[in-house]
Symmetry: C2
């Protein structure tokens, strides 16, 4: 996001050129290209992942492939430009998808697919001010930066041929559960000398039981804005992601049933004081497990 | 919709009882039950369809199964009540879905699946004032009664094992194309002594070419509100489905690219006067094919 040229403000994003952003491409801690040619980074990240797998196929390995795209500014290689029905955003997603396909194909070709667990997910919902370049949360409300479902709910695909049966489940999990789950899948032990918030999702993967995660706390900064428990979600504070408005506290909280009303349109707080009382208890229980830590980011900003 | 009891206004719909509506159930032109027990009509319609197929399996047949549900007021049989994650609306949809499954199973069991063409579609988008009982158009804008996509775009499933290859296509078609397509599939001839607006969708079904339908005229009453051509859609008039607001004319029309912007959020009329000119020509061409007919409904209403 280090701007060095091009039109000002959001204008530069509609027809982005790699040279507008002075971003470094790094290998370990070394800058190897600056500005990075972002048109080809998705392709190069995918190729690097394939190389890594081929080199490590005979030993246990952990690969974390975090694509920069489809975050704005959007870029794709010439092979994918103007090929999708969904414009540049669609082109970018199709290039990522093709790369995932190449990676899975590599696992097959190297004969390690049945011995490799793959998880695919995303970090947050669409960045709405960037319009068609920001993605879509479908029927979910709002987008990135806010604690409505459109900001934070993401689908996840997990794959392990021969071990995970193909299917679709509607169970709760959170990105922090990946750590606990992967450690368990690998036969390791999760540390017991500290609180680990992630839960083990193996029952969900193997169809042997419900998710141990029934509750999700939706933080914005250090404050709990909303809490989901089972199908219910209570909003104690709401604020649009990037609308420039102030946080609005709610007492009683807004209450939605995400099964009946996945778009969080119809507040049913009045009919369910028992659910609100139960969720409030969950918040108190959760807060008792917290030991406030020093804000390391604040310190770094101060230093500057 | 013939109300005879229960709470007034929309209240009766939230926890509907069959006896609130004095609707007749008819066989041909005869009333066989009044008020109809709507809790079991989905089940009974499905059973009737299965009986019909079994009786007609040795000759060509045409079956048109138009479920009353999931229109409000919502009803389902005890087997499906409170079984879905989506509340009563979900229960109703699951009962319809199970019935479709029974029908397809019947075709298999009777050995006529490979000789039977099945199309499944819907008439309009969600009736939004009925909240969770009205359905959802997903990411599409607005709902029933209006000419945004949420009001009029519906997915369609067509099935003919051994003849239609399983797959997903993103091609345009309209309900009126079913007539032309089905006549052609059955080896018949579409009349040539009148204008038939439906087009033959066989190329789409067999993967042998694009849809001959590239244009859709979105009428409200006798007026064209919007026109889609390819990925572009121009709105000459807009009005919410049931918001009580007046029609708003647009000159130039609002223009959306439904590929890049399926939610019709970002008007791009200013950048594409050529597309608007082209769509305007399509409207003129279409209107030259029309011979205004007498409004038969107006006459009936007058008579009353």
């Amino acid at each position: 996001m280090d701007r060095v040229g091009g039109p000002r403000g959001r204008e530069a994003f509609w027809d982005p050129k790699a040279e507008y952003w002075n971003v470094p491409l790094m290998r370990d801690t070394e800058i190897v290209e600056r500005p990075a040619n972002q048109n080809t980074i998705t392709k190069r990240y995918n190729e690097e992942a394939v190389r890594f797998i081929k080199a490590r196929k005979d030993e246990p390995f952990f690969l974390y492939l975090a694509h920069n795209l489809p975050h704005v500014p959007l870029f794709c290689s010439d092979d994918f430009r103007s090929t999708s029905a969904r414009g540049l955003f669609g082109d970018v997603v199709e290039e990522i998808d093709a790369g995932v396909g190449r990676i899975l194909q590599t696992l097959e070709q190297e004969g390690i697919a049945e011995n490799t667990f793959v998880a695919f997910t995303s970090d947050n919902g669409p960045w709405l001010p960037f319009k068609t370049h920001g993605g879509s949360a479908g029927l979910l409300r709002e987008g990135k930066g806010c604690t409505y479902e459109g900001g934070m709910r993401e689908p996840t695909i997990m794959r392990w041929p021969g071990t995970i049966k193909p299917g679709v489940v509607h169970e709760l999990g959170a990105t922090m559960d990946l750590y606990t789950t992967v450690v368990k899948l690998a036969g390791g032990h999760v540390p017991t000398d500290r609180v680990v918030d992630g839960v083990d999702l193996r029952h969900v993967l193997f169809g042997t039981g419900p998710s141990p995660r029934q509750t999700v706390f939706y933080y914005r900064g250090t404050r709990i804005f909303a809490v989901r428990k089972g199908p219910y979600k209570a909003h104690f504070i709401t604020q649009t992601g990037y609308g420039g408005d102030k946080p609005v506290p709610h007492d009683p909280p807004l209450l939605y049933h995400l099964g009946h009303d996945p778009s969080e349109k119809f507040n049913i707080a009045q009919d369910h004081p028992d659910v609100i009382a139960d969720i409030t208890k969950e918040v108190e229980k959760h807060q008792r497990t917290l030991t406030p830590a020093e804000d390391q980011l604040a310190k770094r900003i101060e230093k500057k």
